[in-house]
Amino acid sequence: MNFTYTIFILLLPFFSFLILGLAGKWLSHRTAGIFGTLVLGVVTVLSYFTAFEYFTADRVDGVFQTLVPYNFVWLPFFDGGLHFDLGIMLDPITVMMLIVISTVSLMVHIYSFGYMHGERGFQRYYAYLSLFTMSMLGLVMATNIFQMYMFWELVGVCSYLLIGFYYTQAPAVAASKKAFIVTRFADLGFLIGILFYGYYTGSFSFDFTNTAVYLNGAMPGVGADFSKAIAGAGFILPTALFLMFVGGAGKSAMFPLHIWLPDAMEGPTPVSALIHAATMVVAGVFQVARMFPLWIQYAPETLHIVAWIGAFTAFYAAAVACAQSDIKRVLAFSTISQIAFMMVALGVCLPEGGYTDNHASLGYMASMYHLFTHAMFKATLFLCAGCIIHAVHSNEMEFMGGMRKYMPITHITFLIACLAISGIPPFSGFFSKDEILVAAFHYSSAMGWIMTGIAAMTAFYMFRLYYGIFWGTENVEYHEHHTPHESPAVMTIPLILLTVITVTVGWILPGSFGSFVSATGEAYHIHLDWSVAGTSIVIAVIAIALATYIYSGVRQPIAEKMKATFPALHKWAYHRFYLDEVYQFVTHRIVFGIFSRSFAWFDRHVVDGFFNFLAWGTNAASYSIRTLQSGRVQQYAFVFLLGVLVLILMLII
């Protein structure tokens, strides 16, 4: 089977972007929305078809082949040396990501039809969504790290555009700038890492062992040559990979580069669901997974640093999430925490027996599994939040409470997603989180218990949120003014579909995710380790019970008392431990005040001075030699001859 049609998975959303972007002005909202959604529907069908074809194809040596339907050299440097390629590569994680991206994107397209109804710039919104989908699909289908980087920047741009969609509102503009600057700053690390890597290995290709199958006579890439890199005292590859991880940490909001994600919630809620929960923010995890063979073989110690960064981020975000009152911010911190779980899972892989051991590298599979399930239930949560915000016109929990009466569908779907993220069987989150915990225990019991503890915190803050919205103290006065109502079908149907996936994907295919995606590519059968799973269930149930005890009542004396007893802690957590203020201080006082000012001086006087001098010199010189161009042919011939003589003398002497 050749997968040449996969090119349309990229081209279709791009054309949709062009049409909606260029001709959107002349289309009605309805046409634009239907067009964008239909195109994405075709893309989704193609993605599912690709997945079906890919996973039903025969394995070679027990491994799904890495296929390259397209690849061509875009920018060659020296002969036979480095070159930038563009192409399409299919391997298990790419195909899995195709499903995640197209599914969530399609749901968001449909949902937005209701959510964005009547907004100004509706066509622009759909154009950006198409561009984002194209970029994200391109990111996962890239054949080499440089192509990935290009699409990586593109998704960054789309994120910027969509966060700042309500560009007339100052907070949205500030948030979009913040997101762009922080991630761009991190991407600098990524770029340096790529250059480091390319320089030492002589290749940008993801084809680490020259095993990819090139279809359609596509140009084979030059396989990476690690001998040079290893000759660099084993220092080069870990450094390069870590620098790439810095870029990934920026996109995936790892501490301390996470500060942009909570602010990114200023964008429309469906965008938060698509970009800032399900797809773009996991790009960092995907990047580490993509480079995983190198990490595990050449830089396992550095990989464990990644694990600890992830563990700290998970804890920090969970702690902050317990004290937020804006429902989207709670979900944002929950996202940070869950992505950190995936990072931890990748980080705890052990290099026993190279990377050929599926047990030692269980975390890889667990991470991808969690990525998959998380995308589904977190998108559900965000879309539910969108429905609620739609109903009460606010993000703050104080305007909610008791919403279960008004919004039954949203209530049920939100509850199921909460159970999934808390790790309660039989919902999908339980299975993937359990695998992560097993991998963490495999690495060290300390890590295992830390992650189990954070999982409990997850259950606690998610149910705090749940009770805060649907039970608890109802803001009766506000609701009388504004009776909340259930959202239209175009918004609830995507919720229901995503919930169905959340409910079923865990137990319908209990062991089979590992047979599609695993570190070595060989089938891995997931089997539950009940000592770990049991502990985590018990702890999660206790956490949920605690949250029920504290937050489900109409009066919440314990919560009030806790707030009163630990005012400092609550205040710190509410203000996210003042990290934003630290950044403010560092950027404004230190970076702007000290560095920028001196750089600006240098720029104004030395750099500009040099170019002004060039301009002045050019002008002065042209004034002084203008007589040379006299218009007299005799003189021309004379200069001609003089030139010849000077050149002859130059050679002979």
Partner: protein
């Protein structure tokens, strides 16, 4: 004699066929003396014919090097590719010439224009495919003499006549020097066949070194390198605008390519010497031209200095005579061609519609003609080498080739000069977009031919860089001094 070897010259023969067909058409379709309305048949058939011939050449391309007449004539796939590139440029020139040709005073001379242009093109073909210095010289002259007639095309116009006079006088002078160089070569080598000469060339023989200098200066005149460039500004200013466009790209490009071929083939043992010569010539060309360009007000004069500076970059590809340099040079030529002809097409249409030729006349051009201003900006950006336009990629490859051939300082100086060039290219953009004018060029619509030509140029400027296949296509044929 084996007549089948004529078939090896299919490039030249097919072009000759085009010339003959056009000549006949001119004679029979348009020649009736009573008719006051000459038919437009010529312009209608010239472009398609040339396109067909281009396709024919590319399809019929020899797989390997072919010769005819005992190595007098040599051709290789890369040469056919270069000829095809020149053809595309000529097509664009024809497209933009149409509006000028349809003026009252030119209608009767249409045939002359097409025939003269194609004869110079034929001369360049022979020059490119020559295997012998005499052949090369004949090709050169065949390219030069009709060119003079083209420069003097509007002979009633004094400036045009003056430009032609300056051109022919300088051309004669350079031909004299070139012939002197060739005679020195014949005297020391005893042969003028390229294939035999490299073996008897000697870098310590100062007579041959003098011949090398004379050769470079003779061909440097065609490419308009400093200090052999002084004719350029006057001729470009006086010649009809379409001819200026042709002169600035096609004849320059052909000469630069021939120089590359002969330097690597004949003067191969003197590679150190000609590297030194070119090193200084390039630096002086780029710098001096930039310095002069800043002060020009007549836009054609301005483009003349821009063309001299661009020629410096073009020749940079010849440094060291590498295969990569050859690809970079041909690619540069192609990209420069579309951008420069785009600019000239706009200058031409503006001149035809309003008669204005000064940069200051372009003040406020954007307000009246936004589309043309936009295309002009694209082309100028490409000439200045701003990404993502093709000009950036072509400069990138040229610099890469120069760097790899071992001339980092040359590349550095060329880079500094791109900054200066950006300054003066932006002057025009500034005039069009920012400056206000009380008497801007009035709004006008361009004719269909110019529009097609501009569309081709814009497509080339935008896509020739991004679509890497073009570079790779050139690269698959290139050959150089070193393997």
């Amino acid at each position: 004699m084996d007549y089948s070897q004529f078939l090896n010259m299919s490039d030249e023969l097919s072009l000759l066929a085009v010339v003959v067909i056009l000549f006949m058409a001119d004679l029979f379709c348009c020649g009736s003396e009573n008719s006051t309305k000459p038919s437009k048949a010529l312009s209608l058939i010239a472009v398609p014919l040339l396109l067909v011939q281009t396709v024919y050449m590319l399809v019929n391309m020899p797989a390997d090097c072919v010769t005819a007449f005992g190595d007098m004539y040599l051709s290789a796939p890369m040469m056919t590719v270069v000829k095809a590139v020149l053809n595309i440029g000529t097509v664009i020139v024809f497209l933009m010439a149409n509006v000028w040709m349809n003026r009252e005073e030119n209608q009767v001379k249409q045939g002359e224009f097409y025939l003269l242009t194609l004869f110079t093109l034929l001369g360049m073909y022979f020059m490119i495919s020559s295997g012998h210095f005499l052949m090369f010289f004949i090709g050169l002259e065949l390219a030069s003499i009709p060119m003079t007639a083209l420069v003097a095309f509007t002979k009633k116009n004094q400036e045009s006549a003056e430009a032609a006079a300056k051109y022919i006088l300088t051309a004669l002078f350079s031909s004299g020097l070139l012939l002197y160089g060739i005679s020195l070569l014949y005297g020391t080598c005893g042969t003028l066949y390229f294939n035999d000469m490299a073996a008897v060339m000697d870098a310590s023989n100062w007579v041959q070194l003098a011949a090398l200098v004379l050769f470079i200066s003779g061909i440097g005149f065609k490419i308009s390198l400093v200090p052999f460039h002084l004719w350029t500004a006057d001729t470009y200013e006086g010649a009809p605008t379409t001819v200026t466009g042709y002169l600035s790209v096609i004849s320059k490009g052909a000469a630069a390519f021939v120089m590359f071929v002969i330097l690597t083939k004949v003067f191969e043992p003197m590679v150190e010497n000609w590297n030194l010569l070119l090193f200084w010539i390039i630096i002086v060309s780029i710098t001096v031209a930039n310095i002069f360009a800043v002060r020009q007000n007549n836009i054609k004069r301005f483009m003349a200095f821009s063309a001299i500076s661009q020629a410096g970059y073009l020749v940079l590809g010849a440094m060291g005579g590498t295969a990569q340099g050859m690809t970079a040079m041909v690619y540069y030529l192609f990209v420069y061609m579309v951008a420069n002809l785009g600019v000239f097409a706009i200058i031409n249409i503006v001149e035809q519609r309003s008669g204005k030729l000064n940069i200051s006349d372009y003040d406020g051009f954007y307000a009246t003609n936004p589309k043309l201003s936009f295309i002009m900006t694209l082309c100028l950006f490409s000439l200045a080498g701003i990404p993502p336009f093709a000009g950036f990629f072509s400069k990138f490859f040229i610099f890469m080739a120069g760097f790899k051939a071992g001339f980092p300082w040359l590349v550095f100086i060329a880079l500094v000069n791109t900054v200066i060039s950006l300054y003066y290219y932006l002057l025009i953009v500034k005039a069009m977009y920012i400056k206000k004018s009380d008497t801007p060029i009035a709004r006008f619509s361009s004719d269909g031919y110019t529009q097609i030509g501009l569309a081709l140029c814009a497509i080339g400027v935008v896509f020739a860089g991004i679509l890497s296949q073009i570079y790779q296509y050139f690269d698959s044929f290139s050959f150089g001094l070193m393997p």
